[in-house]
Every structure is written in C-alpha cells, then in structure tokens.
C-alpha cells in the first residue's frame, strides 16, 4: 500500500463511514436487541495444493514442445477469530510457487513471474449487531448469479495469467482494499450490501493481470516462445488475410508486390502492427519512415516487427477514481430479487491512439470509467431453481479498426450481459441409488446494443458480434459417500468454440478425508484459431492433476 497526499480525502470518507456506523448504533433499530453476538474463537486452517498439468497438443509456433503445462504450488493459510464479541479478524495468506516453463523460455517471461507471497484477504469485521456488519480491509466480493461468467461479478479485477480448467473464478479474483457494509433493513424486508473502494493497490494489481506480450520471434521468422496461456499469436492476422504473412499499411504507403494490402486504409488493432516477410532496408525506410518510436529492428533480410510505444493510464488513488456500489436483495412472492449498481473502471484496457498513426504510433492503454446497472432474481420451483442476472453498461469503450472514422480507435457502445441458470438435483437410481446428480444449465448472452462499427478485441483481429451466446452444462455425482466424484462440464459458444471438461475426484478416508486427488481434461475446441473466445486457446488442451490437503 502506498501512502500519498491524495489519499487524505479517502481517509475522510472512511472516517465518515465510521461515523455512519456509530449513528446506526445510536439510533434504535429492530435488529439491535439485547442479544450479544457470541465471540468467535481463533482458528488457523488452510490448504496445500498442487496443480500439475501436461499439454496434450504441440504448438507449431513453439521452439520446444515440452509437455509441462503447469506445476503450480499453493499454500493458503487462514487466521480467523474474535478480538472482541463484535470485532473479528480474518487474515488469509497465499503463497504460490511455479517453476520456469520450457515453452516459455526465452519468451520474455520474468523469473518469478507467477510466484507470490501476500495477503489474499486481510480484514476487520465489525459486527455492530446481527443486522449490521462493516468490513474494513483487503477483500474479495462477488455479486450476481452467474457461475461461469462475470456478469454481476464486477468488483475485483482478475489474474488472467493462469487460467483454464484447473482454476475457477475464485482463484483468479484479486483482492482490493475496501470498506463494505452489510445491513438488514427490516422496515422494508430487504438487505443492503455496499462497497467503497479507493485504489490503494500498486498499479499492476488495480486492473486485470494479463500474460505479458506475445511470442518473441527469431531472426528467421520462427517463433521462440510465448506465455503459456496467451492466445495463439497469429490469429490477429489470419482471420483478416487468411495467412500468417500479411502486410499492414499505414495511409499513403504502397509497398509493392503484395495484393493483400488495402491501400489508403489502416487495418489492424492499434497495438501491434506487423510485417512478416523479407524486406529490404530501402523499402523499410520508405514504408515506415525514419522516425519510429520505440521499435528495434532486426537486420535487413529478416522479419520486421513494429511495436508501438505504449503507456498505461492506470486508475489513480484520487477520490474521483474511487470505486463504489451497492446491491439489494428482497423476497417478493417467492422470488429473491434485487438491483445493483457499480461505478468503477474497466479492468481490461482499451487502446487509444494518440496523435494519429503518422505521429509514431503512441498508444495509451486506458481503463475508462464504467457504470454497471444490474438486477438479479432467483426462485425455487418444483422443477429446480431458476436464477437470472443482467448487467447493463452504457457507453462502454471498445476498440475499432476503423481508424479513418475514429482516429483514436475508440468508440462507445451500450453493452448488455444477461444470464439465466437452472439448478436441479435429482436421483437416477439405476445409475446411483444413494446419491443425487447435480445439474447446472447456464446461458450467458452478450449484446452490443448499437451498430458494431468494426469493434474488435484489443490487440487481436477478433471482431465482436452483435450478440454472442454461451451455454454451460455441468453434471456431477458421487459414490460411496463422495469418496468418488464424477463431473462433466460442457461450455459451448454459438460462434463455434467451447470447452469440454470431464473430471474425477478421489477422496480416501485417510487423514480424516482431507486429502483429495482430482484429474481433469480441459479440451478446448473451436472452428479455427481466431474464434472468440475459446478458439483462441484451442491448442491449449491439458490434463491436470490437482492434489490438495486441507489442514
């Protein structure tokens, strides 16, 4: 945590919240009876976990096809307890170690890139009374109903450097500093959950962490290495031109010989412009000019890679950039329904081209403000539980490839995420006479509510669609009192990509059944390598063994 002058207003706000809490105690409240909450005893627990995974496919762009996909080792320690009857401490420490991976060697990945030792959560809970709790500190908060997508789950940024089958969203959420209030408002039979979170983390923890840059290139044009969970690097070109070898021109340039150039137009996402193919020095100078910021060039005859100068405009610690929001929940006619609002920043960047391309490709990675307006609802029916979640973001920033109409490569569109889920438990006695099958079917739809204007996923030639539909189906059951558990998950996106993941978990009853072994096969499929979202990773199938001991 950095202490800066700009945090003084933040402390004033936090102090104001504390005053509010005191007022809540002073004012009579139905929940504030004579009852005193029992003091929590102190507990220490945690787990040791290992994920070991191997790739089942080779990468045609990697120098080595060593199969080691992951060997992630975790130690999580939790300390919980009551300092007083009303004040509790929760401290959760996470230590992670991963070795260097052969497929990433030489790919610009730093040593200790994935290693960490830090507080995952560190908070003080002030249980004012059974109807009012304030939580101060570093926390993870999850709103919404979706299990497979981040619809209402808007508060915490995500660590996307490790991903796929062996993680769930919980493992990738990054904690943030916040004050959180949880209140039962008896007079309207509703609960209220609010969060106020100024940016107090270092920059890189304020937004989604993503794998560092794309593959490095050898002088002969072959690829050296890439971050393990980065997408196949040439998808950005292949969809547009049907080939890895393409030329992308800036206005006015007309390199000879290539029919793939679109004269007078600028194509491609702003972040990365590549020319792959032998090039003579004179041609290079003629094409790109001599003033070319931030780009080293290999020798003549080699492949030329042009990377613009990129700066990052992270959210700052000022009050104006603070995040805040609230969520309600009310029982109405058997439904549990509520609304939520969140003001924060996008956690994935959009790229703004400053000064135009001719000025030398200065790109600013921005994390613009966003407002999220959402609703949730769930109800128990005889056939199962239905749950809904919707998140509307007006004027959301997207990157466009049409830099003629939008020289800074940014457009604003209204955006909607909508989710519907069915949960059901049932018996199939012929298959399992003594335990239930759990079924989850979840649909997530993503909608751009305006014209598309050539919006693309930043850094890749992956176009958005006006609507995108994903279905998740998950089925699981257990035998011998859950000594053996089987699960099957299928995710399918209507664009033609998805994930098929069977898994088996064995929990022997040694060590008080706290040791478990899970094996999963993450089979990513897609029509092609640039099929969003899963096709990008379709060469990244893995088999993963997860061993965990709880203590």
């Amino acid at each position: 945590m950095r202490f800066t002058k700009s945090m003084t207003p933040v402390f004033k706000v936090v102090a104001g919240m504390a005053v509010l809490a005191i007022l809540m105690i002073i004012f009579p409240h139905k929940g504030r009876a004579a009852f005193e909450m029992p003091k929590k005893s102190w507990e220490i627990d945690g787990f040791i976990r290992n994920n070991t995974g191997v790739w089942t496919e080779n990468w045609d762009y990697a120098e080595t096809n060593d199969p080691l996909a992951t060997c992630r080792n975790w130690l999580r320690l939790n300390l919980n307890g009551g300092i007083t009857r009303s004040l509790n401490l929760k401290a959760e420490v996470l230590a992670v170690y991963e070795p260097e991976y052969p497929r990433e060697r030489g790919g610009g990945i730093k040593a200790n890139e994935y290693n960490s030792f830090d507080f995952r959560e560190l908070r003080l809970d002030w249980r004012i009374n059974p109807s009012n709790t304030l939580r101060f500190g570093r926390q993870i908060v999850n709103w919404g109903e979706s299990l497979s997508a981040r619809v209402g789950d808007v508060i915490n940024p995500q660590d996307m450097r490790f991903d796929l089958g062996f993680t769930n969203l919980e493992d990738t959420r990054m904690p943030i500093w916040m004050v959180r209030g949880l209140h039962q408002l008896s007079f309207i039979n509703s609960s209220l959950d609010w969060v106020f979170s100024p940016y107090m983390e270092p920059d890189r923890y304020r937004v989604n962490r993503i794998p560092s840059a794309a593959a490095t290139v050898n002088s002969d044009g072959s690829f050296k290495a890439a971050p393990r969970f980065a997408t196949y690097p040439e998808t950005r070109i292949e969809e547009m031109f049907g080939t890895h070898n393409a030329m992308i021109a800036i206005p006015g340039a007309a390199p000879g010989g290539s029919t793939l150039v679109i004269p007078g137009a600028v194509v491609g996402p702003p972040l990365c412009y590549m020319y792959m193919g032998p090039i003579a020095a004179a041609t290079a100078t003629g094409m790109f000019g001599t003033a070319f910021a931030g780009t080293p060039y290999p020798a003549v005859g080699a492949y030329l890679v042009r990377v613009p100068k990129v700066t990052y405009d992270y959210p700052d610690s000022s009050l104006s950039d603070a995040r805040y929001g609230f969520k309600t929940s009310t029982p109405i006619a058997g439904w549990q329904a509520g609304v939520y609002f969140w003001h924060g920043n996008e956690y994935s960047p959009t790229m703004r081209v400053k000064g135009g391309l001719a000025a030398g490709l200065n790109i600013v990675a921005e994390y613009p403000d966003q407002n999220v307006y959402g609703f949730t609802a769930n109800k128990n029916f005889s056939f199962g539980v239905l749950a809904f979640d919707g998140a509307y973001r007006p004027n959301r920033h997207f990157n466009t490839t049409d830099l003629v109409k939008n020289p800074e490569a940014i457009v604003e569109k209204d955006h909607l995420l909508a989710q519907a889920r069915l949960n059901k438990e049932f018996m199939i006695r012929k298959l399992n006479p003594f335990a239930t099958f759990s079924l989850i079917v979840e649909y997530v739809g993503e909608f751009i509510l305006d014209d598309l204007d050539d919006i693309h996923v930043p850094t890749y030639f992956i176009p958005y669609h006006k609507d995108s539909h994903t279905l998740l189906t998950s089925l699981s059951t257990g035998y011998r009192a859950n000594m053996y558990k089987y699960g099957l998950t299928l995710i399918y996106n209507a664009q033609g990509s998805g994930l098929f993941q069977p898994e088996f978990t064995y929990t022997p009853d040694i060590l008080n059944s706290e040791l478990s072994f899970k094996i999963q096969w993450a089979d990513v499929f897609g029509k092609n390598d640039y099929n969003y979202p899963y096709g990008l990773m379709r060469d990244s199938d893995m088999i993963i063994l997860t061993t965990q001991y709880n203590f």
Partner: protein, 391 residues
C-alpha cells in the same frame, strides 16, 4: 400371534438391567429391529453395543410450554384432510389431550408443533461434532455450528412475543459446516407457517463467495453424500401436507431419552462419540411409552416408501425412525438422543441429536448437537439470506 408371543416372552426391562448379545432376544419388543442388530453384533459396522437400563424419566417440555398447552384444551379443531387447525395460536401442543376422532392427525400436529426453544445457537465452548464411517473405512470427524429462530409460538419467559414476521415464517435454521473439505459452507433454511408452502434453502459457498438459492422441493435427497436428508432430521421433518399418517401401535420402548449433558462431555470432552449408537454404562437408556406412527409420502416419486417413527408420548421427541425403500426393505435407521438442558432463563429443557445409519451402503453418521444455548433473544433478522453468512 407373533406380536403377542413376543410380548409374552419379553423380559420387562428394569433399572440395572444390561442388555447385550447374550440376552437381547428377550428384549426385542422394546427396540426396533436395527437396534437389536447393534446390540447383538454391531450390525457388522461396529462392536456389539450393550445397553444399560437406567432409572431414567422422560424430560417434560418447559413449564411455560405446558401451561400454554393447557389453554388449548377444547379450543382447537383440526381438518383431517389438510391438517389445518382452527383456534390455534402456535403456543403449546394444539391437542394436549389426544382423543379420537382423528387421533393420528392430532398426534402428528402435536409433533409438528412440539416444543422448540425460542432460539438457540452454539458458542465456541461446545459446538456440534459428528463422527461418520463408510463401510470398511476409517472414522471421519467433523464439526459445525448452528442457530435457529422460531418466529411464532414462543413460550419462554421473556420471549413470549411473536417476532416481526413479514415472510410468514415458522422458523429459520442456520448451519455452518467447519469440516475442512468444505469449510465455512453455510446454509439457511426457512420453514413457513403455511404447511403447503415448500421450505426455502440457501447455501453460502465459500469458494464462490456467494449465496446460492438451493432446490428445496427435493428434501429427501441425500445431503453431501451422507445418509442425512432434510426430511429425516429429528426422525421426521417433512412438510405436513405431503404425507399421510397412521398410528400402527402404541408401545413401550427403551431409548436414549434423557442423557446428562455434563456426563456426555466429561466422558467425551471433545464432543465426539465414535459409534453409531450410544451405549454402555455411561449412557443408560430409559423406558418410555410411544406412539408408533407410519408416515407415507403422497408423492409416488418420493425415494422412501414409508417411515416408521417411535414418538415419545410425553414430549413428542422421536426415539427411533425406520426408513424403508421403494421395495419395502429397511434402508436407514435413525436413533434420536435427547439431552437434558436448561434454557438461558433457567427452565428445564432438552435437545435432540441423532445418528443416521444407512444399511444399504454401510455408512453411519453420529451427530452430537447437545450443547446449544437456548432462549437468548436472537433478533428476527439475524437469519436472512442477506445476513446469515456473516455469522
């Protein structure tokens, strides 16, 4: 003929008797068949479990509850078709004197509205402990906590007023699982006053950091791979309107009807009891008159064909429950163990824990929840979907 012959040849249990594998044949009348098996040879799950008969009396419901029950004499009527009551304010037994007509129905509503503390919870001195064992496996121990608030029918001194109840609840029950494999999994169950309305269930899943609405119509499904189901709690905890009821016998039984809490924790300070059924000289059984009630589901898809529950006539605590599968074979046996207690205001009371034994899988679980703290003034909104996970 067999029934009469078993009565005629049965020994009459008296304090000081020890019933073990050598003489259990004389006492079969006083136990359900599965208990006879435990005494004889442990049912191949555990060691043989001898029962000591003590001078044990059934604990009465608290005096405030008994007084409230007396006020209902002659005032309450029942519709036998849907078991709805007229003239009942939820305080006390609706029918403290059980007579025909509709005796079975009156008994079951007495059971449904039996005494409960106005609220209870577990502090950190003593929590719920359970021991379980798969067939051929090792004993696995786990812990949990719970809290409960009853919204109507509160008779405890100082807590007679019904709580504000915009959701029409009878009670709200919270459970907090502390077994490390699913640590801090928390559940909330709402039971409504409307006996036709399904319960509502929520689970706070710590790995999701979110509360999920759970399916409550399938309350006969096993919970987390154990033999427990929501409908089996306390021997029978299903929705009144979803079953039919018939008294098939009234008989004297031997059961664990009044354990001493301090003896329990003196002998087992950590609270774990690593056997399917309580037995031995430390936990003597008492004699009690019971109603034997056959409970059958109206839904043909219900996994059980029937339950037979042995209900103590004095305090309506079940002593045993036998559960039969769709083929009519014995599937599970439940033993309820009643522990004598005192409420916070000082009334004599009790609380029931249970063991569940699944004879099809050979899996048993013994839950010791004796040590709750009763009648404390928990406020109405402590157990709501928005707040329960903050406990």
């Amino acid at each position: 003929m067999l029934f009469f012959s078993s009565v005629l040849t049965a020994a009459v249990p008296k304090p000081g008797d020890v019933i073990d594998s050598s003489n259990v044949a004389q006492y079969t009348y006083y136990f359900p068949a599965f208990m006879v098996g435990f005494i004889k040879n442990g049912n191949d799950m555990t060691e043989s479990s001898p029962i000591h008969v003590g001078d044990i009396k059934t604990p009465l419901p608290p005096e405030s509850f008994r007084k409230a029950s007396e006020k209902n004499i002659g005032k309450v009527t029942i519709n036998p078709d849907d078991l709805s009551l007229t003239g009942f304010d939820f305080c006390g037994y609706p029918f403290p004197e059980v007579k025909e007509p509709h005796k079975s129905e009156k008994i079951i509503v007495n059971y449904y509205y039996k005494w409960r503390p106005a609220d209870y919870y577990y502090d950190d001195k003593r929590i719920i402990t359970s021991a379980s064992q798969r067939k051929g496996g090792r004993i696995v121990r786990s812990t949990s906590k719970a809290a409960c608030i009853v919204f109507v029918g509160r008779t405890a001194p100082g807590f007679q007023k019904n709580l504000d109840n915009p959701n029409g609840l009878y009670w709200a029950q919270f459970n907090h699982y502390m077994q490390l494999a699913f640590k801090d999994l928390k559940t909330l169950q709402w039971r409504y006053l409307d006996t036709k309305k399904d319960d509502d269930l929520w689970s706070y899943i710590p790995t999701l950091r979110r509360t999920l609405r759970m399916l409550s119509s399938e309350k006969a499904n096993p919970i987390n791979g154990t033999p427990l189901t929501y409908d089996d709690f306390f021997g029978f905890d299903g929705k009144l309107s979803q079953f039919t009821y018939k008294i098939i016998a009234e008989k004297t039984m031997l059961g664990n009807i009044a354990m001493d809490e301090e003896v329990l924790y003196k002998k087992h300070p950590d609270g774990y009891y690593d056997y399917p059924v309580f037995h031995g000289p430390d936990f003597p059984y008492g004699i009690a008159d019971t109603y034997v009630v056959e409970v059958k589901p109206k839904d043909p898809r219900y996994p059980e064909s029937k339950k037979v529950i042995y209900m103590n006539k004095i305090n309506y605590q079940n002593m045993y429950s036998e559960i039969f599968d769709r083929n009519g074979e014995l599937w599970k046996g439940l033993q309820m163990n009643v522990v004598k207690k005192k409420t916070t205001p000082g009334e004599d009371s009790y609380f029931s824990s249970q063991s569940d034994i699944d004879f099809k899988t050979g899996y048993w679980i013994q839950i010791n929840g004796a040590a709750n703290v009763q009648d404390n003034g928990l406020p109405a909104d402590a157990l709501t979907p928005g707040m329960f996970y903050t406990w």
